[in-house]
């Protein structure tokens, strides 16, 4: 299986109070297409920064991020936006739904951007898959945390992404809801054949993936295969 994501000598530094702060230091790894992976590490280890760079939300100070064969470093922010729209799906800890759009509209946005057809029907179908077919006309504020995350999941899969980035997807959910959401993520992922990159500090959740990449102090300290299929 080919790599969908290749990270080579990746560095990220910030200027803080006049000093250079290294957040990521010479990170290297590759992610196989269709695999489920977790990036774990303590708070402040740089894992969210790494996710941002991998997903093309930010640009690196040094090194290469190659997503689906495209070197993101050579692209402008607008070009990276196109890449995201075509190949990437996101799930965030804080759900990040557009508060002024209904659940259905939130799911529709990536498809509308691509100018696709049958948007409404496809979005309703996705909402149905996450068990929210009857909540399509509700605004995020009218939904519970778990429901919001399920809408977020439907939106993430709406553009049939090749890679799905999930940043602490259960961080704001109770245990029972977390379990349901995690099951949904893995089920949908499997069904769509999407690559999953999960950023979490929850080792139990990470253990459900096939591979765990550990980050500490901005450095890759371990890269373990879990044996999950």
């Amino acid at each position: 299986m080919e790599n969908i994501l290749n990270i080579l000598n990746l560095n990220k530094t910030y200027k803080s109070a006049g000093r250079l702060l290294t957040v990521l230091d010479n990170i290297n790894f590759g992610i196989k297409a269709g695999s489920a992976n977790a990036i774990v590490g303590p708070s402040g280890s740089g894992k969210t920064t790494l996710l941002g760079l991998c997903a093309g939300l930010d640009s690196a100070t040094g090194g290469t991020v190659e997503l689906n064969g495209i070197n993101l470093g050579s692209l402008s922010e607008d070009m990276r936006a196109q890449v995201r729209n075509q190949y990437v799906g996101f799930i965030f800890q804080n759900f990040q739904l557009l508060p002024t759009l209904t659940a259905l509209e939130n799911v529709m946005v990536p498809l509308e951007l691509r100018g696709e057809k049958n948007i409404k029907a496809r979005s309703l179908d996705l909402l149905d898959k996450v068990g929210l077919a009857d909540r399509g006309h509700h605004y995020p504020a009218q939904l519970s945390g778990g429901e919001q995350q399920r809408v977020s999941l439907a939106r993430a899969f709406s553009n049939s992404p090749r890679i799905l980035f999930a940043d602490e997807p259960t961080g704001n959910l109770d245990a029972e809801t977390s379990e349901k959401v995690v099951k949904l993520i893995f089920d949908l992922n499997r069904e769509a054949g999407t690559t999953l990159i999960l950023v979490t500090h929850d080792l139990e959740l990470a253990a459900k993936t096939q591979r765990i990449i550990k980050i500490k102090g901005g450095k890759l300290v371990a890269d373990d295969i879990t044996g999950n299929v």
Binding site: T48, I70, A81, L97, L101
Partner: protein, 855 residues
């Protein structure tokens, strides 16, 4: 299988405009009320401008349609002396029908009530007016009065003295029967009628009144009607040189139309500028509100960017929103303006000699809507361009980027566009680039001062807050500099509102104060003129008999200027480099002679010489502006024609004259020992203590000396007071829009701060902060903001009103600090009240409820 080459990515995806509109609409859903509040800032500014524009267009149409009635004839020729034979011959041949009129100020006596009053007597002969009519009650009186010893009397005068048709009126030595009440005459304004009401008499009785004597200031007017298609403009231009030489002017329908339009244009320009200030104030509101709105939208924009929305698309979504809401605000403003326009003609009717209509002007509405749209987009542009810089990374970590545009080169383009817009718009209102530049610089300066003040406040409070202070004080102060503070935005908007309101107030106070000053105390308030030399002693004696002081007796001699340094009117016309006004030669100068300066005069150049030396050239003193008009300096030679006698003089001194003071002021003053024997009239100044004394004194003078005219300054002041009241009302009416806009900007600025502060206040409440504590913290924050902004605004207002007083109105400057202090307290209090009212939700509801509703 997954290895997609780069060209598989559609990097050149076209912008889907329909989708952008859909997203703009969706995104605005929960914010429409707030967006409308932001945009309401411009509603009143647009309303004011649409009202003025509508009025302007309606008046222009009215002037065009009523043009002929403005002069009542095809051509009018007038001058302030009798035409010579050559001109008289010409006047006798012009036109197919002709009328003539002599008009002059004179006292009249209502025989029944024995009341007297200075009026403008118009002795008429012929069928004038040819267009329009003398509107009288009864209607036929307008024509029939010329058939006998009848008079038409202005309606205000009739009302003032409770006179009735068929009463008698004494004009000079003749008594006329009032045959009709004059409601309106061609070209007459309400103001002119108020100062010198008109009395029409037939010309055949003029001589018998005995009012045409030496020195009488009579205006000779000739009206012509042309039956065939004569090109009046061409004809008049052909006559211009001859008329000019004879000291006569002409008016055609076209020139009168231009003149009337011009005089209204000045008023409408001023009013437009006041309206524009209201609009600019609204723009500050729009800019600050949109800035905060966009800050709150960072998360949504970042989410959209994550999903693949381009920076330009995100920018366009919000641009569409602002355009839509700007359109709604502009339309609302245009509707408001159209409504106001129904009222303005009533307020302004006395200023114009036409009937003003109040029709809907679609052109004005169109201009207002376009202006509102342009201005809302332009002023929202600065915060809007920051959208392009919002990173999708904000979805992972909010506020990773500051949305400030400090490093965005586009901001310079926006600044330039804003400055260009303000300058161009001001130019359109003021009509000259220097004035427009001055206006723009003034506005920019006020912005800068307020921004720097706010910045300094932030820096100082940061240094000032000490840990030893109580929690409430520390928190109240800290709110001024903590992240997401609104110190700069609120200081600018509140300060600017205060500056505008206070400047208008200070200038109004100064103008009113100036009028009161010039008439107060024991200064002369009654002027008697046209006193013949033989009557001089007797009039003074009568004045003293009545127990009144003779404050001043001034001889007046009329003369013309023949040469300036040997150059005649013809030379000045031929050679423009001489820079001598041609009009200076045609003017009839009223000159006096005396040996000393008066209190209202001050020598600014040369040496005052009060006595002429026999056999030597005559030294005269020239007033500054007169000297400029004839391009003369000390030592220059002037030749005056004193009723046929040429007098060689030189300018020995140049005087500055305070024309605002009620006294007899002159452009040229001769020394004693030259003009004593020249034909002259005298003016006497006195002070009457009250209306009763004034009435009996006037009656005595008119009975004994019917040719002597009296200006009762008390009466004039009443008219002036009424006039200033009307002008003041118009100004207050227009500045009212600025004040309302200022308050709306204040409300919306403080209201949007609610969303900034709400999280912190809820957190405080959750942590156990009492209602009282949060109330005190909020009150302190808004008190500091309100007080400092108001104070800065007042300082700016004092500076700008000083500049206006010194350079525009040319009057001494003084500030009445009591009302200024009142403005300070009102603005501060208003800020605190609005701040607290907006926080009442946080104070009264449980924290969880607020957190849920704002999530």
């Amino acid at each position: 299988m997954f290895n997609a080459p780069m060209d598989n990515v559609n990097f050149k995806r076209k912008i889907n405009i329909a989708w952008l509109f859909k997203m703009a609409l969706r995104d605005s859903r929960r914010n429409r009320g707030r967006l409308l509040l932001f945009i309401s800032s411009i509603v009143f500014g647009i309303g004011a401008l649409v009202a003025i524009y509508s009025l302007r267009y309606n008046i222009q149409n009215d002037i065009n349609s009523q043009a002929a009635t403005l002069i009542g004839a095809d051509l009018s020729i007038s001058g302030n002396k009798e035409p010579d034979d050559k001109l008289q011959n010409l006047l006798n041949k012009l036109g197919d029908d002709r009328s003539q009129e002599r008009s002059f100020p004179s006292m009249v006596l209502f025989t029944k009530s024995q009341n007297t009053r200075l009026v403008n007597v118009k002795a008429l002969q012929g069928n004038f007016p040819y267009y329009g009519e003398l509107e009288t009650a009864p209607v036929q009186a307008g024509k029939s009065f010329k058939k006998g010893k009848y008079a038409l009397v202005d309606k205000t005068l009739m009302l003032q003295f409770n006179a009735k048709v068929n009463d008698s009126l004494k004009v000079g030595n003749e008594t006329f029967m009032i045959t009709g009440v004059l409601n309106k005459a061609p070209g007459q304004t309400g103001i002119a009628a108020g100062i010198a009401p008109i009395v029409y008499i037939p010309m055949q009785y003029l001589d018998k009144t005995g009012l045409i004597t030496t020195g009488s200031r009579i205006n000779y007017s000739y009206y012509f009607k042309f039956n065939n298609n004569t090109n009046i403009e061409k004809l008049a231009k052909g006559l211009d040189a001859q008329l000019d030489k004879a000291g006569f002017n002409y008016d055609t329908v076209e020139s009168k139309k231009e003149g009337t339009s011009r005089s209204f244009a000045d008023l409408s320009r001023f009013l437009s500028l006041v309206g524009f200030i209201a609009l600019l104030l609204g723009c500050v509101g729009v800019a600050s509100a949109i800035n905060i709105y966009i800050r709150e939208k960072i998360r949504s924009i970042a989410i959209m960017r994550c999903m693949g929305v381009k920076a330009s698309e995100a920018f366009l979504i919000y641009l569409i929103q602002i355009t839509g809401i700007g359109l709604i605000g502009s339309v609302a403003g245009a509707l408001l303006g159209t409504g106001i326009q129904q009222v303005l003609p009533m307020v302004l009717k006395d200023f114009l000699p036409i009937t003003i209509s109040a029709g809907i002007s679609w052109l004005a509405i169109g201009q207002g809507v376009i202006l509102g749209l342009v201005i809302s987009i332009l002023f929202a542009l600065l915060p809007l361009i920051s959208i392009r810089n919002i990173s999708p990374l904000n979805t992972l970590r909010l506020s990773v980027d500051d949305i400030s545009t400090a490093r965005d080169p586009f901001r310079w383009l926006v600044y330039i566009l804003v400055l260009l817009f303000i300058t161009s718009f001001a130019y359109l209102q003021i009509g000259n680039w220097a004035g427009a530049a001055f206006f723009t610089i003034g506005i920019a300066l006020a912005f800068m001062i307020l921004t720097v003040t706010a910045w300094l406040l932030i820096r100082f409070t940061r240094l000032l807050v000490m840990s030893s202070w109580s929690y409430i004080w520390r928190q109240g102060f800290a709110n001024l500099y903590r992240p997401n503070n609104q110190t700069i935005i609120l200081t600018v908007s509140i300060g600017l509102s205060t500056a505008f309101i206070c400047t208008l107030f200070l200038i109004q106070q100064l103008l009113i104060g100036q009028v009161t000053l010039s008439t107060g105390g024991n200064q002369s308030n009654m002027i008697l003129f046209d006193i013949q030399p033989a009557q001089k002693k007797a009039v003074a004696g009568l004045t003293r008999e009545q127990g009144l002081p003779v404050l001043s007796e001034v001889p007046i001699i009329t003369m013309r200027l023949e040469k300036v340094n040997g150059k005649t009117a013809a030379d000045a016309k031929k050679d423009s480099t001489l820079r001598i006004s041609e009009r200076a030669y045609a003017y009839e100068y009223r000159v006096t002679y005396r040996d000393s300066l008066t209190a209202s005069e001050q020598v600014t150049g040369g040496k005052w010489e009060g006595k002429a030396k026999p056999g030597k050239e005559i030294p005269v003193s020239a007033e500054e502006r007169f000297a400029t008009r004839i391009n003369a300096k000390v030592g220059d030679k002037l030749v005056f024609n004193v009723q046929g006698v040429m007098m060689q003089t030189y300018i020995s001194s140049i005087r500055k004259v305070n024309w605002n003071k009620v006294s007899t002021n002159f452009q040229v003053v001769f020394p004693t020992g030259v003009l004593e024997d020249a034909p002259q009239i005298h003016v006497l100044l006195t002070h009457v203590p009250n209306n009763t004394v004034s009435a009996s004194y006037q009656q005595a003078v008119v009975k004994k000396f019917p040719n002597v005219s009296i200006i009762d300054l008390g009466l004039i002041l009443n008219v002036l007071d009424e006039l200033l009241g009307k002008i003041g009302y118009v100004i207050k009416f227009m500045s009212g829009f600025s004040i309302i806009t200022g308050i709306i900007v204040l409300i919306s600025s403080v209201r949007i701060s609610k969303y900034q502060r709400i999280q912190e206040s809820v957190l405080l409440r959750t942590l156990g902060g009492s209602r009282k504590q949060i109330f005190a913290i909020t009150a302190l924050e808004y008190f500091f903001l309100g007080a400092l902004s108001a104070l800065t605004g007042i300082v700016i207002a004092i500076g700008s009103s000083w500049l206006l007083a010194r350079y525009t109105f040319n009057m001494p400057y003084a500030v009445n600090f009591l009302p200024v202090a009142a403005i300070f307290f009102i603005i501060t209090l208003l800020t605190v009240i609005i701040g607290l009212l907006n926080s009442r939700g946080v104070l009264n509801k449980p924290p969880l409820e607020i957190l849920r509703s704002n999530s």
